[in-house]
Amino acid sequence: MTDRPTDERDLVLSAQRGEREAFSQLVRTHQRRAYAVARAIVVNHEDAEDAVQEAFLHAYKALDRFLPDQAFGAWLHRIVANAALDITRRRKVRDADELPETVASPFRDPAEGNELRQRLKDALAKLPERQRSVIVLHDVEGFKHSEIGQLLGIPEGTARSDLHYARSQLRGILGPVRRDL
């Protein structure tokens, strides 16, 4: 990828020299997309935010190993995806040890109050995690199969088949619901 603005390379170089404001600007530029990547992988807003924070901290620590001629966004997204996958794994272990409980979220989900959206949320909860991540990354965030493969550490073909099965599953689950609505 070489279509990124040259000033980003300058920002990266400045951040590598220890200029905090340059790194802050990189955070400002990339945090929304980083959140979208994390949100596609984890189950809620809070975990997505945690993953974004962890990822930026990790990126800051590893900045001296980043080659400025590469795309900072793609590098960061892989770190975000790893942080999100790690949070998902930890959550699984934690949830296995604890009784399920509902955690109040300070962030009001825009899907609330809409029947189809609510049913879709229920249907998404029934999807295998990886299929859910793939359909969100592809259909919502617009990532390509190859990019999704890199983010989730799976072959491109698997990302493709996951997308197919996720769409098929959602259609199967939502089909009767939509006829009712």
């Binding site: 400002r28 929304r32 949100r39 924070q53 825009p110 809409n114 959206r117 969100v136 088949s161 197919h164």
Partner: protein
């Protein structure tokens, strides 16, 4: 599950995609993003301070290692010298009873007497 899917893919369902976009929408308020940026930078600063407490510059680390090595050598040679002196003192005590101090000599004589008494009385 196939690792290399080549079958016909289902087309995207626009209703579902629209609903998915709403479910996964990122917070829109700019205050949220400036807050998140501030939290990230605060963690970065905390990490810098945290590292400063325990990260030792490499040059200092080398000097410290050399000094520690030297200290071990000095301590080792002192210990060896002490042991040699102690062994020599022990040896001199055994071959020359005059070097034994009076209380030790008296205690030894008492112990020898008691051993004789026990041998005679059979106890």
């Amino acid at each position: 599950m196939t690792e290399d899917f080549r079958g016909p893919s289902l087309l995207r369902d626009d209703d579902v995609t629209t609903a998915l976009r709403e479910i996964y929408a990122a917070p829109a308020e700019s205050a949220y993003w400036s807050g998140l940026e501030a939290r990230i930078m605060s963690r970065v600063s905390a990490d810098d301070i945290g590292e400063a407490w325990y990260v030792i510059p490499e040059k200092w680390l080398r000097v410290g290692l050399v000094a520690a090595g030297f200290a071990v050598l000095v301590a080792g040679s002192l210990l060896m010298r002490d042991q040699t002196q102690y062994a020599r003192a022990e040896y001199e005590t055994i071959i020359d009873p005059s070097t034994i101090d009076a209380p030790t000599l008296a205690a030894r004589e008492r112990m020898a007497e008691q051993a004789n008494i026990r041998a005679l009385t059979g106890r």
